[in-house]
């Protein structure tokens, strides 16, 4: 009987073997329980590793990592100096809203964005993004202010399902913001980028002209694809259960 190396059996278990060799090993394993057992060890370790690590992808990312990416001037701390005892609780993270570039800002998940035109409470925005089709404006009242939130597109991106939207503060001091938020595995919508738009003053005092000069907020999402209205309707109807990729 032909002998097989561990590497060959592993490649078979991983589906990495050329088709021509697959049949031979499958036949040999069917006739030889010991060989089948050797293959099963590789299959089992893959299952175990995959299953054990799966929940880690859905954990919320610690604020300090987002902070590290938001502030380039931060002093680099060599890894070896970092001990668990020296970890700084990131309670201040919620107050951090760091401008990146001139017109686009990245925000920490829970930070109330200070861009005029955007409601402070992200839950109301998330509700609209979760349930409303693009092109359907939704009124939101918060803290005595009236906003109109208009989802404008749904994107399939590396970060998952994302939506572009526009939010307008109505009343005496009208302001408008445009943003992109991505749906997290737990169903929360996380703001990825936001910019003041339509002639409103940005938080930092920058004036962002509407139209051609505006930044493409979705550019940072990597390769993304815009969904058709029918695809989007299906997603909303199905509570976003379909995997983005």
């Amino acid at each position: 009987m032909r002998t097989y190396t561990d590497e060959q059996l592993m490649a078979y278990a991983d589906g990495e073997l050329p088709a021509a060799e697959v049949q031979a090993i499958a036949a040999a394993a069917a006739a030889d329980p010991e060989l089948a057992q050797r293959i099963e060890r590789f299959a089992a370790t893959r299952r175990v590793l995959h299953a054990a690590f799966a929940p880690t992808l859905e954990e919320p990312v610690p604020a300090r990592l987002l902070e590290a990416l938001a502030s380039p001037e931060r002093k680099v701390v060599p890894l070896r100096r970092i001990t668990p005892a020296s970890w700084v609780p990131m309670a201040l993270a919620a107050s951090i809203a760091l401008a990146v570039g001139l017109s686009v800002s990245l925000w920490l998940p829970q930070a109330g964005p200070a861009v005029a035109g955007l409601p402070q409470d992200m839950a109301a925005l998330g509700e609209v993004l979760e349930t409303r089709a693009s092109g359907e404006p939704q009124p939101v009242t918060q803290g005595g202010r009236s906003y109109e939130i208009l989802p404008t597109a749904t994107l399939r991106a590396a970060a998952g399902w994302c939506r572009e939207f526009q939010s307008t503060l109505e009343g005496e001091h009208p302001a408008r913001a445009r943003g992109v938020a991505c749906r997290q595995p737990d169903g929360q919508w996380q703001l990825v980028a936001v910019a003041a738009a339509g002639g409103a003053a940005a938080a930092a005092g920058e004036y962002v002209p509407a139209g051609a000069g505006e930044p493409d907020l979705a550019a940072g999402l990597g390769a993304s694809e815009r969904l058709t209205p029918a695809q989007e309707a299906g997603l909303i109807r199905d509570n976003w259960r379909q995997a983005p990729r």
Partner: protein
């Protein structure tokens, strides 16, 4: 600094954290490694070729940082893998698998050399092909396969010992 670059990195964070946990087998240090990796990535952004895979580039950065950390006296001592015994596979069943926690799996991975953990994490956790893992780690595909096979047999043995032998069979961190 490019906003797109940062945004893409932010989107990668969950996978980077998962890779760092597998690579270090140190839940207490994994996020430190990711943080150091992000900081390095921002300072070396010009070295990244747009159009190439940012995830592989980042995994490489994390792996290099971790090797630097170990060389500069980091606490992990590479563990010599024990001779792989012929495990009584009949004791291993799906019931045992279902009971394994992430903690136990990570502890067992801690007994492997870092080079094995890297390839194990890329292929079995991140789902990369042998070819992708070889490109990420910049080693020949044959090296990926021999490390990976060895790592999985060792892990199978360690998890089996840990699950059926109680605490005595558990691998320990540090």
């Amino acid at each position: 600094m490019s906003d797109a670059f940062r945004t893409e990195l932010i989107a990668l964070l969950p996978r980077l954290r998962r890779f760092a946990l597998g690579l270090t087998a140190r839940p207490d240090l994994a996020d430190d490694l990711v943080q150091a990796g992000c900081e390095r990535a921002l300072t070396r952004q010009h070295q990244w070729q747009p159009g190439t895979r940012l995830d592989s580039w980042m995994f490489r950065i994390l792996q290099n940082l971790w090797i630097d950390h170990l060389r500069s006296g980091g606490r992990e001592q590479p563990v010599e893998p024990e001779e792989i015994e012929n495990v009584a596979d009949r004791d291993w069943d799906r019931g045992l698998e279902a009971k394994l926690t992430l903690e136990q799996v990570v502890a067992a991975m801690g007994r492997l050399p870092p080079s094995m953990r890297a390839v194990l994490t890329l292929v079995c956790v991140d789902g990369q092909s042998y070819k992708e893992a070889a490109a990420t780690l910049e080693v020949p595909i044959g090296t990926v396969m021999s490390r990976l096979a060895r790592a999985r047999l060792e892990l199978h043995r360690a998890l089996h010992a840990g699950a059926s032998g109680g605490e005595a069979g558990h691998a320990h961190l540090h």
